[in-house]
Amino acid sequence: MMNLSRSVALISLFLLPFLSSSFSVDNPTDRRVLVLLDDLSLKSSHSTFFNTLKSRGFDLDFKSADDSKLALQRYGQYLYDGLIIFAPSTERFGGSLDSKSVADFVDSGRDLILSADTSASDLIRGIATECGVDFDEDSSAMVIDHSSFSVSDGDHTLIAADDLVKSDVILGKSKIEAPVLFRGVAHSLNPTNNLVLKVLSASPSAYSANPTSKLSSPPQLTGSAISLVSVMQARNNARVVISGSLQLFSDRLFRSGAQKSGSPDKYEKSGNEQFVTELSKWVFHERGHLKAGSLVHHRVGETDEPAIYRIKDDLEFSVEILEWSGKSWEPYVADDVQVQFYMMSPYVLKTLSTDKKGLFHTSFKVPDVYGVFQFKVEYEKLGYTTLSLSKQIPVRPYRHNEYERFIPTAYPYYGACFTTMAGFFVFSFVYLYHK
């Protein structure tokens, strides 16, 4: 697997002039994006969103969701680096596409933006479930909030949400001041899945129900259990954004003013555009993407990596971590990267210090335990790609000639031994030859 990706990286290096627009290890930002629409009019109604993507250099390929020639890959090669599914009502994709091939697309390390809406089809729900998100089963239900709706409309289904995840990596450094307008279906996170997280949550007073009918039984989803927009970063660092509202991305909500009910702050423009733009930067790996070089270790005073350590050796350990800025690799700066010297449990756990040029290093003494150890760097920080590196190294005990030959504290015993021998010799001599 490693070899493959390395050779892919190598090939893409050679082909860089021709294929500079494609996704690779060295250039992780997505370039070719397939946009699936169930209604091609969305292309114009959501044009601001698409235009920001285009202006950032993305190559968008708009296709109708039931296009019979739809295919994600040809001859085993993926044609796209990212996928945007804005087709909430599609029951079946055209061509060879289905929910499994979308899941495979994600499992191959590619990114996905999925937007459902009220009356989302089973297909869309199925894809969301694959990513650890469950939409409200009632297909006519919407998120309703009687206390934090948008004043401009007066409609309680147009939520003015401001409960955003606190992560500069996912949502950018500049704070999103204006509330984000949302009209759509609620979803909850699969509690057993710890890769998915809420980016935009509903307020505690929200609930999910059919707004046109009377509430006959208590709603299934209520309060802040409701997620409006969620993200999932898979183990292979593929990123997925799942939104319960397609309107969230629309020009109309981008432009409309926003005022949360009960709040005096009135904003000219909703937070939608900033929110969506920043989120799309994250999902397409323009931000928060780390890469680590190999783990380098050697004895203090040496430069080559040994095949085996001895107990109580002093060693130096370093790893280079770079961050993708969207255009180039910059040194990653953090004070919370740790290395474990691990054999069933960490025997050494050290925080690495950085030289601000991307090199993280530390030095420590091998514990007085032999066995097969691993250097492990497990770096999981909210929003960043997960770094999970390990390198196996055995640790051996002393060789027979690495112990001290003479122990100072044992000198009395050595003395006693030799005097006894000498004494015995003298005694025998005297005994045998003394008459």
Binding site: A103, V106, D107, E130, C131, G132, T192, N193, L195, M232, A234, R235, N236, A238, I308, M343, M344, Y370, G371, V372, F373, Q374, Q392, P394, V395, R396, P397, R399, H400
Partner: protein, 742 residues
């Protein structure tokens, strides 16, 4: 093959008896040879003896070659693969690398210090043979040397047996002993070609040590005692069974002391052997300070001190010349010596300086101990108590000759016969406790039986001969002189005696020939299978070979990443590392019970629980052995209860009753739900439900247990089938990485 062997095997005891006859000059054959070769009687006897010994030497070697001829030159069983791997390492990297070898491929992630946890004698012996052959420009492969080490040492053992027999009885007994031990199944079981295990050289070393010690006691010579100390050193370097020597010899000395056979010869022999042997034994890393600290070795030290007390008392007695005064002195000394010894032992044990007896030692003294306390010892088949049938199988007529031999020994008590009697009795007791200790008892049984055979045959032939010689003048030396007692009784009724003697002689030869036939048959049928290649008889009597083990191990070697970790039950650990060249979690060196219990727990848990355990151990592949298709009964399902017991011994969440139904172990529909869904069951029977194994039986019919399995619809979640050998004996599964999106 079998047909060819018999005459040779028969020949040796017969020709031995001819050696007795040869002493008579009027014999036609000998008069011819006397004339043509101009040899004196003594020289003739020597020539015969040497040629018989030479034949026995060759016979001992070739009788052990069945497996090479029938299969191929390969290493057998489990432990020999480890020995082979270490020998290979020794010849490639040299002695110091071997001595300091830290093996990171076994017991992942703990590793094992090979140099400090094995008995290097066997490997060093094989490597020396190999290097010698290389030096002599015989470019053999190390594997051939390893395969043939055991037969070679078995041949050497016959020589030692001859000298030992000669020492305790006479040359005749020595020759018979050599012939008996050359083909005794009890010994052959552990020394066929390819059985490259510690016992292969250890029995030689054991007998050599005993022989040299008996010789030292007999002569009182320092040099024999020194030689016996070196023999002991070789034994210590070769096998953990040296504990038997270091307990038997003190016991023997103690018995001599009690029976008032104390002598300066004994004093010299024991002290020299013990002190030098101890110092030498401590050079073996695996033994080290155990030799002075562990409970098993304390007896020898106690007897050593007792010897000094005896010597001192002897000296005092000599000085005092006063019986009364000496009696008081004796009483005071003995009580104070016992007191001091007792206190020292108590303090040493309480402070932990003297380690208590190990489990294996305990289970020797109390056969039920392991069963109740240490499942890992009890689980090994060769640690089971011996069945009567296997005594019969391994000893045949020796079982009946043994008491007769004891009778002869008691009739002619000497220091040497006392030793062989004690050796025989103690080792026979241990052989009854543990199957594999039959091996240790075999030399003693052969020697004592040889005494019986030799003495009987000699008495009978001398009866025949003295009758002939009555008219002639004084008989030649040889048998006649030693058997004066038989001559006395013979004078009365000569005709019956002659016929009786002939009948008895024929009977003896008949028995011996039956023995030879039995030994050949047992060797060929039971003890020459490598157990790594299985053979079965087909429907038409043809031989079917199942080479699944090697197929699986070579698959591992060729198709998995070099740093892949393979989890299997510990039985297969050595083979996987040696043949598959992959890291294993546990292997046959069962030093860490917890680690084995962890594997046992994983095998007996549900798949998702097992998955967490396997992830924590970085397991990439799981290997199980399954005999349901071929009817191979020693597979993992039949071993499964031991996994449960060993796992449950450390992790109480695993409970044996969960896997049983009314105390019964079943795999069919009536099996317990936990059994039907545990990892081991799933891995063994995955896809087995679709298979028809036997005509006229439903799908999923397990031929090893003769039932239709209870769970035919097995789905694996975290593992996937990677490889199944052609007869389904070995199945390998790949552990999947955690799912990408969950």
């Amino acid at each position: 093959m079998g047909g060819k062997e018999d005459p040779t095997a028969n020949g040796s005891p017969k020709s031995e008896s001819m050696a007795g006859k040869k002493a008579s000059p009027p014999d036609l054959l000998s008069s011819i040879s006397l004339k043509s070769l101009k040899l004196k009687t003594k020289q003739q006897e020597l020539l015969l003896r040497v040629s018989i010994l030479g034949l026995v030497y060759v016979l001992a070697f070739i009788a052990r070659l069945f497996s090479v001829l029938r299969y191929e030159s390969m290493i057998h069983e489990f432990d020999p693969y480890f020995n082979y791997r270490t020998t290979l390492f020794l010849t490639e990297k040299g002695f110091y690398e071997f001595w300091n070898w830290f093996d990171s491929e076994s017991w992942y992630p703990l590793g094992r210090i090979i140099g400090g946890t094995l008995y290097p004698g066997l490997m060093v012996t094989a490597a020396l043979i190999y290097w010698t052959l290389r030096f002599l420009r015989f470019f053999v492969h190390i594997r051939e040397v390893c395969v043939l080490t055991a037969p070679f040492f078995a041949s050497n053992t016959t020589l030692v047996a001859y000298f030992f027999g000669k020492e305790i009885w006479d040359t005749g007994a020595g020759l018979v002993a050599a012939a008996l031990i050359a083909i005794c199944p009890g010994y052959i079981s552990r020394s066929v070609a390819g059985s490259y295990d510690n016992e292969a050289v250890a029995i030689f070393a054991l007998l050599l040590t005993f022989y040299l010690f008996v010789k030292a006691v007999k002569t009182g010579s320092l040099s024999w005692a020194l030689a016996s100390a070196f023999g002991y050193f070789y034994m210590v370097s070769a096998w953990g069974g040296y504990v038997f020597i270091i307990n038997l010899i003190p016991l023997y000395v103690l018995v001599l002391l009690i029976t008032a056979r104390y002598s300066l010869r004994l004093y010299v022999a024991y002290n020299c052997m013990y002190i030098l042997g101890m110092l030498l034994a401590m050079q073996i890393r695996f033994v080290g300070f155990q030799h002075v600290q562990s409970g098993e070795h304390m007896g020898a030290m106690g007897v050593f001190l007792l010897m000094q007390v005896f010597y001192f008392l002897d000296w005092v007695k000599h000085q005092l010349n006063d019986t009364k005064l000496f009696q008081t002195f004796l009483r005071i000394t003995v009580t104070s010596a016992i007191l001091v010894g007792g206190i020292a032992l108590g303090v040493g044990t309480a402070s932990g300086y003297i380690s208590p007896w190990t489990g294996r030692f305990y289970s020797l003294l109390d056969p039920t101990y392991a069963k109740d306390h240490i499942p890992i010892i009890a689980s090994v088949s060769e640690h089971q108590p011996t069945a009567w049938s296997s005594f019969m199988f391994d000893y045949h007529i020796l079982l009946f000759l043994f008491p007769a031999g004891l009778y002869f020994c008691f009739k002619r008590l000497s220091d040497a016969t006392i030793f062989i009697v004690m050796y025989g009795l103690t080792s026979l007791y241990f052989a009854g406790v543990m199957v594999r200790l039959i091996l240790v008892a075999t030399p003693a049984v052969c020697l004592i039986s040889a005494i019986a055979v030799s003495a009987t045959v000699k008495n009978l032939t001398s009866l025949l001969r003295t009758k002939q010689k009555v008219p002639q003048t004084g008989s030649t030396k040889g048998a006649g002189s030693s058997k004066s007692s038989s001559k006395v009784t013979l004078d009365q009724s000569q005709p019956f005696q002659k016929n009786g003697a002939i009948a008895l002689l024929v009977g003896v030869f008949y028995l011996l020939s039956r023995y030879a036939i039995h030994c050949t048959w047992v060797t060929s049928e039971a003890y020459s299978s490598p157990s790594i290649v299985l053979a079965a008889r087909g429907a038409h009597g043809n031989r079917i070979i199942f080479d699944d083990y090697r197929e699986a191990y070579y698959w591992l070697r060729q198709n998995t990443p070099t740093d892949a970790k393979v989890m299997s039950w510990w039985d297969y650990g050595y083979q996987i590392t040696a043949m598959g060249n992959r890291t294993v979690i546990v292997d046959n060196n069962t030093w860490n019970n917890t680690h084995i219990a962890t594997v046992g727990r994983a095998m007996s848990s549900y798949e998702d629980e097992a998955y967490d355990i396997m992830r924590s151990l970085d397991v990439n592949y799981v290997l199980v052995v399954f005999g349901g298709v071929t009817g191979y009964s020693s597979d993992d399902i039949n071993k499964f209860l031991w996994m449960v017991r060993i796992g449950g011994g450390v992790y109480p969440v695993i409970k044996e009753p969960d896997y049983l139904v009314n105390g019964e172990f079943r795999v069919d529909k009536g099996a317990s739900p936990k059994m039907l869904n545990c990892l081991m069951y799933k891995l063994c029977y995955y896809r087995f439900g679709e298979l028809v194994t036997e005509y006229g039986k439903p799908t999923g019919y397990d031929r090893a247990r003769g039932v239709e399995i209870g769970n035919k619809d097995i789905k694996l979640e975290h593992l996937e089938e990677a490889y199944t050998t052609s007869n389904w004996i070995v199945r390998i599964y790949r552990v999947k990485p955690p799912t990408n999106r969950l």
